[in-house]
Symmetry: C2
Subunit: 217 residues, 2 copies
Amino acid sequence: MKITLKTDVLTNNNKAAEFNRNLFESTNTLVINIMSSPGAGKTTLLEETVRALSGKYKIGVIEGDLATEKDANRIRAMGARATQINTYGGCHLDARMVAASLAEFDLEEIDLLFIENVGNLVCPSGYDLGEHHKVAVLSIPEGNDKISKYPQMFMRTELVLLNKIDLLPYLDFNVAEARKDLSEINPESELIPLSARTKEGLHEWFSWIEGAYAKCI
Amino acid sequence: MKITLKTDVLTNNNKAAEFNRNLFESTNTLVINIMSSPGAGKTTLLEETVRALSGKYKIGVIEGDLATEKDANRIRAMGARATQINTYGGCHLDARMVAASLAEFDLEEIDLLFIENVGNLVCPSGYDLGEHHKVAVLSIPEGNDKISKYPQMFMRTELVLLNKIDLLPYLDFNVAEARKDLSEINPESELIPLSARTKEGLHEWFSWIEGAYAKCI
């Protein structure tokens, strides 16, 4: 019974994901789903990304949160189109929520669409949203053990942005060890150390996006 | 159908929680369920708690994680009895998992039992484990917006341990604002700023535990 229901839920999700994917393809929109623990720095990273790339691309952002419009307001203040999904307790976005929010964009006019998922290192990675790429943000204060302790997330993402490297002098975090743990769980995954706050390393993330856009469109 | 199933899941959980609660009462065991985002510092806090209080109380710890035995090993190294629950992708502990793990303790011999939940600021707070107290850990690097963005967690806990205050000089976090946000969402909740790493403020947390123990037993 439990298995049947989970299958149904995922089947419905996958139908909506397919709908989204077709829409993204027909409108030439590159879509990146960004996931992390609460407070790893997804919104600050997106603010900097909008600031740096909005001269080159038309950018839209879907913000997922249990409550408040705070993150969408932060993105709007940077000049990008943003819409907020509130899950009211729900622990992840699903493809139907994303499909419903797409009505707020003219996708023909959007080159890059970022989806900032609910802050949660567990549930979001299990749901296909129809995106082209899944990216995880891991921040230095969370500690070295997170990649092995939350393997499902890091097995399913193709890029890890290791954020808040400006705090490395004050914390015991070993970047080489994180690379090693990631290569064991997901040898294909890339890892980019950066700081959204000091902007160190951001150029590598922007190059990654430009490469993904060039391949996709 | 969805509602019925959720009711069933919670009914089953509540039956197991009631079983746990009766057992804790009959064995005079004070039980504290600790919840937070990944990497907020729950395990380090428990290491320090075991170190400080194991002369006075017999302490047991149940560790919840998706994968690995790392946290239970850290607690065992401090000299406390610890058991590890691996949820294999599950985003929270439930009362049945806790009930099953209680067989590994002689509760007659345990004064304080800590349950370290899966690192997740969303799902764990919705499940009664039969515990006496729910405590949230929020860490400075996660940022000021978390209390309003994850209201279900902070409405359901009665104490917030604001961890990693040793990082306050390097980050924009306003403790007074966190107190204000918490008092709006949950006026009954206490908040203790501390650092498990530098030990600043830990005595207040230990006093809170001693007070809770005195009231419960």
